[in-house]
């Protein structure tokens, strides 16, 4: 074991506390400004609210009304939860199929999945959104289908890596017991995949919850998700209501931070595990 060296550790602790303050400060400053009147934000963001500038929850009311925040939150939740569930269920099955079926076609598509991870979204954004519109996928449910296609690359890749490490004998035993492939997958394989499932779910949640351009191009502002609602505040008017903006920023960050504080153990180990396999 490394022995404690108090002096160095005290210096490092001071540095870490200072850095933590730097990391939290931006969010804290936005929070402070969300309680100030809209004209006293841009020029003096670092001044605390006082009697003249404090407006209580006025900005929150304006922000929620101007952006349709509650419905945006609802749609974000709907699209994210459903997409992640669909991605986890179908890509884990596909990964198992790719590894165990031994088919050449499945192998080839695996390489295409991996390839799709590097291709920037701009390459397909125009053609994809045109195709999606003509197929009637420009709805929240359509988005779920689209996310399955874009999430396939990373998710299949990670599940394939894990399935390869599962000994075949376990599945063969289940076959002898009379299980059909669907039963084998759900009773034997899927439970073993759990650590990867958590990682895949976390990485996809972080991506879909925050995604702006894809839903904006596919359904525009008919069904706003949170990032679209925030950007809408800027685009919708000539000048931005800074008060409403601050309030909406706080409201977008809050659920993420709360979720993070509850699930941080899984999120951090999930991200670390994802990187090792990537």
């Amino acid at each position: 074991m490394e022995k404690r060296r108090p002096f160095i550790n005290i210096i490092l602790t001071v540095i870490l506390i200072a850095l933590s303050a730097v990391f939290i400060a931006p969010v804290f400053i936005v929070l402070l400004n969300s309680f100030k009147s809209k004209f006293s934000i841009s020029q003096t963001p670092f001044v605390l609210p006082n009697n003249d500038t404090f407006v209580a929850f006025q900005n929150y009311i304006t922000g929620i009304n101007d952006t349709g925040f509650l419905s945006a939150f609802g749609w974000s939740l709907f699209v994210t939860v459903l997409s992640v569930a669909v991605i986890v269920i179908f890509t884990s099955m596909a990964a198992w199929y790719i590894v165990r079926s031994g088919g050449r076609f499945a192998k080839l598509t695996y390489y295409l999945f991996v390839f799709s991870m590097i291709v920037p979204f701009q390459m397909v954004m125009f053609t994809m959104s045109k195709l999606a519109n003509s197929l009637g996928l420009d709805t929240p449910l359509g988005l779920v289908f689209i996310y399955l296609g874009f999430g396939a690359g990373l998710s299949v890749f990670m599940f394939v890596g894990f399935v390869k490490s599962i000994p075949l004998s376990i599945e063969e035993a289940a076959t002898i017991d009379g299980c059909n492939p669907m039963q084998i997958f759900y009773h034997v394989v899927f439970p073993i995949l759990k650590p990867t499932t958590v990682t895949v779910a976390i990485l996809n949640t972080m991506w879909i919850w925050n995604d702006y351009l894809l839903p904006y191009l596919v359904i525009g502002t008919d069904y706003k998700t949170l990032p679209i609602a925030v950007q809408y505040l800027k685009g919708g008017y000539g000048s931005v209501d800074m008060g409403a903006m601050m309030a909406v920023l706080v409201l977008s960050i809050l659920p993420v931070v709360v979720f993070y504080l509850f699930a941080q153990k899984y999120i951090i180990s999930g991200v670390a595990a994802g990187a090792v396999k990537g």
Binding site: E2, N9, L12, T13, L16, L19, S20, F23, P26, V27, I29, S42, T44, F90, M93, A94, W96, Y97, I98, S101, G102, A106, T109, L112, F113, S116, I118, P120, F121, Q122, M123, V124, M125, T127, K130, A132, F145, L148, G149, E172, N180, P181, M182, W209, N210, Y212, L213, L226, P227, V230, Q231, M242, L249, S252, I253, Y260, Q264, I268, A272, A275
Partner: protein, 281 residues
């Protein structure tokens, strides 16, 4: 068993394949084709050969400006993020009280979306610059610096987590043995620690490099390319070519093909070079 599984391909494999086909494969190949045509909707495409590709470089300097801006941004932010993240990981693998709390704090910004991040930093940077009579839009250097700071704030914690996972696998006995032999700390760092975390370095460089090149949301929210498109990165430049004015879609698609090739070549080159380093050790 294989045959049994194949019978179930309509449930096991088809849904993912169908989604992938419709949202990626078809749009991808259609995109390559359309880059050689002039079009405003997909159905009215007229073949024009390499005209769009020539226009990308000859029409105006905007694409090359964006390319240069993006390359500078990528080099500086990839270096700074990885150096800070690695240093933090080294500190947080020491025996320090409360290290889990610091880890939680440093990772937090990575969960905030790009659009929101952009507006947070716009407020702060404008607030600082206001004291000197400027705003982030007065000079492209402000926008550049803002993007670098934003990207560092967002990604340092993420990369730190990956480096910590790598550092925990460094063989402790080797370091102890080197200490007994009287090796200096710097020597241990460069001869034992860094070679041992080479796989983490590969991943972190890959993630920061591709994220830096593909950056869009943060760019759109922080400066939207202003002033005069001088802080417009490649992804935003392509977006503006497509949706900024009618008639340039073919050029936009040609830019997208060049962009994809560039990202693929840089990513594969980086993976090849750092993986080779992994095997050397």
């Amino acid at each position: 068993m294989n045959k049994q599984i194949r019978k179930y391909s309509p449930i096991l494999f088809l849904p993912v394949f169908l989604a992938f086909l419709i949202v990626f494969l078809i749009p991808f190949f259609l995109g390559i084709y359309l880059s050689f045509t002039e079009f405003t909707t997909v159905s009215d495409a007229v073949f024009v050969g390499f005209k769009n590709y020539l226009s990308v470089f000859t029409n105006s300097g905007d694409f090359l400006n964006s390319l240069w801006f993006t390359v500078r941004f990528a080099v500086i932010s990839v270096l700074s993020i990885n150096i800070f993240a690695f240093a933090l990981a080294l500190i947080l693998t020491r025996n320090i009280r409360g290290r889990n709390i610091y880890r939680t704090v440093f990772f937090m910004p990575n969960l905030i979306g790009g659009i929101v991040l952009g507006y947070i930093w716009q407020l702060i940077i404008n607030g600082v610059l206001y004291n000197y009579g400027y705003s982030i839009l007065s000079n492209p250097d402000f926008g550049f610096l803002g993007l670098v700071i934003l990207m560092n704030w967002q990604m340092i914690g993420y990369m730190m987590i990956i480096y910590i996972a790598g550092l925990q696998n460094v063989p402790h006995e080797q370091i102890e043995a080197a200490k007994v032999d009287g090796a200096s700390n710097t020597r241990i760092l460069f001869k034992i620690t860094i070679p041992a975390v080479m796989p983490s370095i590969t991943i972190c460089l890959f993630l920061t490099l591709t994220n830096a090149f593909k950056l869009f949301d943060q760019n759109l929210a922080l400066t939207a390319g202003a002033p005069a498109r001088q802080t417009e990165m490649l992804a935003l430049n392509i977006y503006n070519t497509f949706y900024g004015r009618v008639g340039a879609e073919g050029i936009g698609q040609a830019k997208a093909v060049i962009f994809s090739l560039l990202v693929a070549v840089i990513a594969l080159l980086q993976l090849y070079l750092t993986r080779r380093k992994e095997y050397e050790n």
